[in-house]
Every structure is written in C-alpha cells, then in structure tokens.
C-alpha cells in the first residue's frame, strides 16, 4: 500500500496548474530566498536591488521553462506492485525487466588472487579505477567496458583516486602515495605524505588529500606540486575519510567516535563532533551539503544535519562503508550484504529501498555510486561487482560540468578551464555561499532597558522559586530559609545591578566630557 501511495505522489498530476508547477521547478534555480528589501532606507540601493531580484526571478523561471527541452532523459525508478516489497526484488528480475543497454551494466568480476578490492569512478562516471590490496591496479572504460590499463605495483595498495581527469590517478601504496598516468607510468612519488591510508581529491581546488598511518592530514596542490598544509589530527590512526562535495571540507572519522572536519587553512578542525561510542567505521556526505551519514562500531548508523550539527535519526546496524548517490540514496554494506536506503517522504527519514547479497559471502569493502548512472559499484574481497539501483543517478548530465561522452579535445579544453578556475585553498569553508557576502557587524545589539528589566525579573522569579533541601540540625529554620532565599535573589540580581552601575558611570563620564565646549573637547584628557 505504501508503495502505491508513493507512486501516486510521484505521478505528475495532470490537473495541476502549469504555472504552479513552473514556480515549483524555478525554486531550485533561485538558490534560496531573496533579500528583504523592505528594511532598506537607501532608495537608490533599494531600486537597484529590486531590479536585481527581479532578474534573478526571471532567470530562474527561464531555466525552469527550458528544463522541458534541455533535460531529455528521465529518472529511473523501481516500484513494487501489490504486496511486493522493493527490497525483496532481486537483481536478476530487474535485469530481466530493463532494456538491453541497462542490462549490460551489472557485472561480477571475480579476481580471487589480489583482493580485497577498492574502486573509484571519475566525476563523469565514465571510467572506473580498481585497486587490489595486493598491488593490482586497473582502469576500465565503463561505456565500452574496455580494460584501458592493468598493471601490478607489487606492493600493498590501500586506496586509489582519480585526479582531475582519467589521465592521472593517485594510489596509496605501502609507504607513499604515487601518481600514475593513464599508461601506468609512475609520474610522482609523494614522499612527504608518509604511508597513506586514504586518499581524496578535491577537483575544484586541485588538492590531493591524504591521511597517513600517524593520523596526519596532508593537502598537496597537484597543479603546482606545492604542499599546502600538513596537520596532525592528534586523534590517532584512521582510515575513514571523505570529502564533502558541497564545500570541499574533509571529514575524518576517528577511533574515539569523533568526526572532525578540516580545511587546509586551519590547523585545528573546523568541527569536532562526538558521533559514536566507539570507533567510526564509515562516513558519507550528501551532495546537497545538508546531510552526513556515519556508521560506528557501536552498531549505530546515524544521520546528521551538518548545517546545525544535530542528529536527525539513529538507526541500528553495522556498516563498513557508506555512500550517497547523486539523487540522495544511501548505500551501506556490512559483511556480504549491501543495502540501499531511500528518503521516501522527503523528511530525511531514510528507509530501506533495496538490498543485495553478494554470492558466496564475499566481504564488501567499498561501495560507490556511479555518477549519472543507476549503478552501484561494489569492491569486495574477491573482485568487483556492479548492480543496478534504479533512481540513484542524475539522468541528465551537463557537457560543461561532467561529460561521460567527452572527446579528447573536450577533455583538454576542460582541463585548461579547470586550471583557470582553480579555487584557492582559502575558499574552502563550511558555508561556501558566504563568499561575497557582507560580514555582519561584530558589535552585538544592545538589549533595551525593558528587555534587561524583564530579564532581571525572570531571574529573580527563578531564584525565588528554588526549593531548598531539607537539612537537619536547625539549618532549615524558617529564618535561615528566608535568609538563604534572600541571598539567592540577591545573587540573581547582582549581575544586572552591576551592569546598571557601570552604565551609569559611563554615562556620567560622557556627560562631563559633553559639558566642555566642543572646541575644547579635544584638549580634554582621555581616560583609559
């Protein structure tokens, strides 16, 4: 029944007014609410800003109107009928239902020798990089399913990541991270990083981030080779690291249950949250910048609102790895079981959507959604697999952002543009929308007299209503109790009274200054 209601909700209601629909669509493009212009006193500025706001509205509407022609592909979906549950639907039955192109995407690659495997997709989702723990590296073109390069480094490989495009990738090996090119040639050995456990690449900043065995965080600019920052986290060894795609802040999960967030320009973490009682095993960030999922050894999976740093939901369960898809699906894996959760009602309450069990109990080490496709890549102890997760990927790509069908020329062009638009490390901050806004005045608004008075009264009331404990040996005599209460009231009043006297003195000081004629004021002695 639930599923049926859902399907009704998802269906575009034909009778809905077209303009209403357009407004709803345009909301996404407005990027937040307009400024409140009513409070402005400057008429000229108000006029200018009104024009600007109007333009924003128009452009959002134009973008919403153009959606119809610009976005040809439709989202995937999986709907259960009758008593069926979506999470009981097997991959085999999905494959039977979808078209030929879709049915070619899932695969199981059994590589028993050099496992367990980890994997990584490019931003466009076209290429996949596979790293086996025992030194096996391979790059695969996911559209043609060509093996582009395969080689062995004969050393422990802990993590792999693509750099700005598929031409280069970084590998966390036994002692150092290395950078290889597409042909498998070693380009750089980054000795300064130490023995890395995890790698991340911030594509807009061209920063390669690594966390090493000693819990040190390194930021290196791969376009200039400069080591931007090197911080000791001081929270021990960790292999849980994820970059927040919304603001490029690095999240680290520690063995003490803490999650810390880092930027390259501060040696202290921006945020430290105690998320679990026990080691954090996995962490994932939603692309919208409002959600974080963490999993811990304490058998908890938690969803956090990282705008307010508040917990939204706690679920019980283990997860070795977590990943959010472009459309907000959450994949988690525990042992050989992969589960996909979905926020079905839009209130960040995730519920089960799909599940998948690896054959023969292969242990899953890494799950990663493939961008712009309804595919989940799984790296496990005996190779790699991919399964179909309908509704996980963004159906429409933008040629200028991430293009799966990129030609060589386009790739080169894009690399140049990416370098021109390379962001400085200072632009990494918790709220990236802050850039270009006005800094709020530092001085706090002084509370009005009335407010302070009411505050004082409230404090006095609170003090009066305190009930004292019953004490023995005459210490609870009525007189003693009255005295105690009086003291308590006085204590509550005191800060307010002190402030009042201070203000009075300051005023007095000011008035003495004002008594001098204005011409002589500059000779008045300045008191400290």
């Amino acid at each position: 029944m639930v599923a049926k209601q859902e399907s009704e909700r998802l269906m575009p209601a034909a009778e809905q007014d077209i303009s209403d629909e357009l407004e709803l669509k345009a909301k996404k493009y407005l990027r937040g609410h307009g400024a409140n212009l009513e409070v402005l006193r400057d008429k000229k500025l108000k006029g200018q800003l009104t024009v600007r706001e109007k333009l924003y509205g128009q452009s959002a509407k134009a973008a919403a109107k153009a959606e119809k022609w610009l976005l040809p592909s439709e989202e995937g979906y999986l709907e259960a009928e009758g008593l069926e549950k979506t999470w009981h639907i097997k991959q085999e039955s999905i494959i039977r239902e979808v078209d030929v192109i879709g049915s070619r995407k899932p695969f199981d690659m059994i590589l028993p020798e050099l496992g367990p495997y980890t994997l990584e997709y490019t931003l466009s989702g076209r290429y996949m990089l596979v790293g086996g723990r025992k030194g096996h590296l391979a790059m695969i073109d996911m559209i043609s399913m060509d093996l582009m390069k395969e080689f062995q480094v004969r050393e422990t490989v802990r993590d792999v990541t693509f750099l700005q495009n598929e031409q280069f990738f970084a590998v966390a090996q036994k002692r150092y991270p290395y950078i290889y090119n597409r042909h498998g040639t070693e380009i750089h050995c980054l000795k300064e990083h130490g023995a890395p456990l995890k790698l991340q690449f911030l594509d807009k900043h061209f920063l390669l981030v690594s966390v090493n065995k000693f819990g040190q965080l390194h930021y290196q600019d791969v376009s200039t080779g400069e080591m931007i920052a090197n911080y000791r986290t001081g929270l021990g060894r960790t292999a849980v690291m994820k970059a927040n795609p919304y603001n490029a802040v690095i999240g680290l999960g520690h063995s003490g249950g803490k999650v810390t967030m880092w930027k390259p320009t501060s040696s202290k973490p921006l945020v430290t949250m105690l998320c679990h009682h026990g080691p954090v095993t996995a962490i994932a960030f939603h692309g919208g910048g409002h959600l974080m999922a963490t999993a811990g050894m304490d058998r908890k999976i938690k969803l956090w609102d990282i705008r307010k740093f508040e917990i939204l939901h706690t679920y019980s369960g283990h997860a070795q790895t977590l990943d959010f898809s472009q459309k907000g699906l959450l994949a988690m894996a525990n042992g050989s079981k992969v589960q996909i959760w979905r926020d079905s009602c839009g209130n960040q309450d995730y519920g089960q959507y799909m599940s998948h069990a690896m054959v023969k109990g292969y242990q899953v080490g890494k799950v990663a959604f493939r961008p712009f496709e309804d595919v989940l890549g799984i790296g496990h102890s005996m190779g790699i697999s991919s399964i179909l997760i309908p509704g996980s990927g963004e159906p429409n790509f933008d040629t200028w952002v991430a293009n799966p069908y990129e030609t060589t020329k386009q790739r080169r062009e894009k690399e140049v543009h990416a370098l021109l638009d390379k962001l400085q490390p200072e632009t990494i901050m918790l709220d990236p929308r802050k850039i270009g806004t006005v800094k709020p005045p530092r001085r706090k608004e002084k509370p009005t007299k009335k407010e302070t008075e009411s505050e004082m009264e409230a404090a006095i009331e609170a003090a009066k209503s305190i009930n004292f404990k019953k004490k023995t040996k005459g210490r609870s005599k009525p007189s003693k109790r009255a005295k105690k209460k009086e003291e308590e009231v006085f204590r509550a009043k005191r800060p307010f009274l002190e402030q009042q006297t201070e203000e009075r003195q300051a005023k007095k000081h000011r008035t003495t200054e004002a008594e001098l004629p204005k011409s002589l004021q500059r000779f008045a002695q300045k008191r400290a």
Binding site: L78, I101, Y246, T399
Partner: protein
C-alpha cells in the same frame, strides 16, 4: 514490479560524423555545480587581473603639426575623420584609421582657436586670433588619398573678418547657424559675412561656447569673468548666468540628457549642472590635479573625457565623482583639447607637444570584430566583475593605476590641503556661534551666485 533505469545509447549522445558539431547538453541544476560562488569569485578575480594585463590604451600618436594643438572638431558625418587646429594657424584633417593627414587647410595668420563642422559634415568652420572666421568645404575622402604636400591644401569657401579675436566656435545642431565666442557671443549664418545676432553680458572675454544638442536654439558659454551663461536665440538677451569662484575653461552638454552639461573648471574639478537648476552642481568630478582644459561627452552620454593641464587625460562616468581611468604618457605635455570619437570607442587628445594621441575608451578592450562567443564571454566576465567588485582583492586590482610621480605627489598634496582646509573650517565652526557658519556641500561651495 515497474522498473526503469537510466539508459543512454552512445549514438544519441555523440555526433554521427566527424564533420558534425559536438552535441552539447545542459543541466542548469545548481546541485551539479557546487561552490558556485567561489568559482565566480575566482573568475572575477582572474578577469580583473587579465584586464590589467591587457590594458594597453594608447593606440598611436598623430604628428604633423608644428605647434601646439589648440582645438579639434569631430565630423558628425564621417567616423574616421577628425580636424585639428594648431597655434600656428594650421588646420589638419586626419584619418584616424591610418593616423595620417588627409588634407590641410592653410590660411589663418595667428592661432586657430575654434573648429567645428556642420551637422551634415559638409562645411568646416574655423576661427582664430586673426579676427577671421573661415568656412571650408570638407573634401570627400577616398581610400588612398593622403599626402603631406601642400597640393592637397584646400581653399576656404568664405572668409569673414570681424572686429575681435575669436576664442571658440560651435555649430548649431541640425541648423544653419553657428556661434563664435570672443569679446562677445556672435551668431552667424553660413551665407552672411556679418553676424546675424550678438549677445553680450559683462565686458569679459567669452572663452567657450556650446550649442545644446537637444534644443537647437539654446547655447551655453563660459567666460573669463568666471561665469557660465545660458542663451536662447529666440530671446534678445541672455537667459541665465552662473558665477563660480574660478573660471570654466570648457563645457559640454550631455547628448543623451540634453538638459545637463558638465563644466571643466580651472580649479581641477568638473561640475555637472542641470541647466534648469543652476544653484548647485549635480556632481563634482574630482581627480585632476591641475586646471581642466577641455571636456567632451561620449555619444552614449554615460561617460566623458577630460584633458588637463597636468598632462593627463581622464575618463569619468557621467555620475561618478572620481575618474574611471587615467591616461598619460611620458611625452604627452599639457592637454589642450580632447574628443570622444563618434562611435564612443576611442578618445583623441591634442596637446602642447604638437601631437594628437589616439586612445581606446576602454583600456583593455579588444580591438576589431569579436566573435559572438568572445562577446558572450566578455559579457559574462564583466558581469561577475561587477558582482564581486566590492570584495577587497578585486577592488584593489580594479582600482589600481600607476601614476606619474609628479601627479601622484600633487594629488597627495592636494589631499593634504583639502584635509587641512576641512579641519580649519571645522574648528572655525566649533569656535563660532552655532548656526553662524552653516555647512555647505561641496556641490554648492564653488558657486558665487546665480543671475537671472
């Protein structure tokens, strides 16, 4: 069970033949483009830097005169041509594209002080200190028709001799009249050897005259008794007069808002006035460090150019109190005359060093035809620069100009002096009876009185 997954066939998303254009797909969803603001800011910063790198405003110098250039005139009917008159009585017609003299108009005995062309571009009128007004036929120029020889010299259509030396001349817009300034303001007809009308208000020399582009019968003059006077040809006497503390060297009407004019003053500032309301300036344009000698509006009316005795040319917004741009070279001496080209993309200055100089109106603009894509890109960069112009880094880069040392020093000296004056005023005010020294805005301070 109903199921659908994203399925793209490669054929649909790639081109068929290699000659085809690449297929481009758009998705304007903001969630695909994270950190938009940081990216935009970076682009604005880079655009500001590139603008500085590409700022090469000087196009070339036109030399040929043998004395200081005293006046210039645009030909409203011919974009490439510009007339210039010099202190030795020579008049040249220049081709801006090749920067060569096309024609010379010899005849004046003393300095040429005023030049103007009729609105149809057929007749050139010059006047000078030799008390003559000369009318010349403007030659129709062919492509390869230039030489410096005197064979190319024209003969005047008419020479009108008059009682006094002339300081300026301006032609009526869309009419047959022109006005000269000297000991008095004379209104002439092309075909009459004597003025058809004469105005006089006070005994001092009138030094500049400009007809209003919107109302053909209205003209404004400035004279050496520090006054700006408005005339209406339909009336027998001058209409209004404004006396300032210092002399106005030149004035120019805003072609798009013809009730407004800007006066280039001796006190280093320019003052924009509304002709209907002369009791205060609308804007005071400051930045020059010496007398402003000439001023000319862009045909768009959004900008004007000024030339100053401090050897610089500055460009102002019509409503901006400080200059947008300063142009200077080591060899440019006192600038006596400036003109905005008729398409608003070039500025021409004539100076004491006998040269005319050609500048771009936008220092970093690319010359020549822009492809539509280049144009789009430029528009985008301008927009992001505008959006982030208040951020300190962008502001610093956009604002920074290299100044010649004497001008830098003079500017800081002027600032010191102004500050001292302000302080002194403040103290005077503090020591005097309240209300006896009202605060006067700078827009009013330099005005002595307005006479009806």
């Amino acid at each position: 069970m109903k199921v659908k997954v994203i399925s793209r066939s490669t054929d649909e998303f790639t081109r068929e033949r290699s000659q085809d254009l690449q297929k481009v797909f758009h998705n304007y969803d903001p969630s695909l483009r994270t950190q938009e603001k940081a990216v935009e800011y970076t682009r604005a910063l880079n655009a500001a830097k590139l603008d500085k790198i590409f700022a090469r405003p000087f196009v070339g110098a036109m030399d040929g005169h043998i004395d200081a250039v005293s006046c210039m005139a645009k030909n409203p009917n011919h974009l490439k041509g510009i007339f210039s008159g010099s202190m030795d009585g020579d008049i040249h017609l220049w081709d801006i594209a090749t920067r060569k003299t096309m024609r010379q108009f010899p005849g004046h005995q003393g300095a040429v002080r005023g030049l103007t062309a009729s609105t149809d571009g057929d007749v050139l009128i010059s006047c000078g200190t030799d008390c003559t007004v000369r009318l010349w036929k403007v030659p129709v120029l062919k492509m390869m028709d230039f030489s410096d020889s005197m064979e190319n010299a024209s003969k005047p259509l008419a020479v009108y001799v008059w009682k006094h030396a002339f300081w300026a001349v301006d032609h009526q817009w869309d009419g047959n009249l022109f006005a000269t300034a000297g000991a008095q303001v004379d209104i002439w007809d092309h075909n009459r050897s004597e003025p058809v009308n004469t105005f006089e208000w006070g005994k001092d020399t009138v030094i500049s005259v400009r007809f209003n582009p919107g109302e053909p019968d209205v003209l404004a003059t400035s004279s050496s008794d520090r006054s700006i006077t408005l005339y209406d040809l339909r009336m027998s006497s001058p209409a209004r007069k404004l006396i300032m503390k210092t002399k106005t060297n030149a004035l120019c009407w805003n072609p798009m808002e013809p009730m407004n004019f800007t006066a280039a003053n001796e006190d280093c500032n320019c003052y924009s006035y509304d002709a209907r309301k002369l009791n205060e300036a609308k804007v005071v344009h400051r930045d020059h460090v010496s007398a402003v000698m000439d001023i000319d509006y862009s045909p768009t009316g959004r900008e004007f150019v000024t030339g100053s005795y401090d050897r610089t040319v500055r460009l102002f917004q019509y409503n901006g109190d400080h200059s947008r741009e300063i142009y200077h070279t080591k060899r440019m001496q006192r600038v006596f005359c400036v003109k905005y080209s008729c398409d608003g993309s070039y500025v021409i200055s004539g100076s004491d060093d006998t040269n005319l100089r050609l500048w771009k109106a936008k220092a970093s603009e690319q010359l020549g035809v822009l492809l539509p894509r280049e144009q789009k890109k430029q528009e985008y960069l301008d927009a992001v620069k505008e959006r982030y112009k208040h951020l300190p880094e962008v502001k610093r880069i956009v604002r920074h100009r290299h100044l010649p040392k004497p001008i830098y020093k003079a500017a800081s000296l002027r600032r010191t002096m102004m500050e001292a004056e302000r302080k002194k005023d403040e103290r005077k005010r503090a020591h005097s009876a309240p209300g006896s020294m009202p605060v006067q805005p700078f827009r009013k301070r330099r005005i002595i009185k307005e006479v009806e």
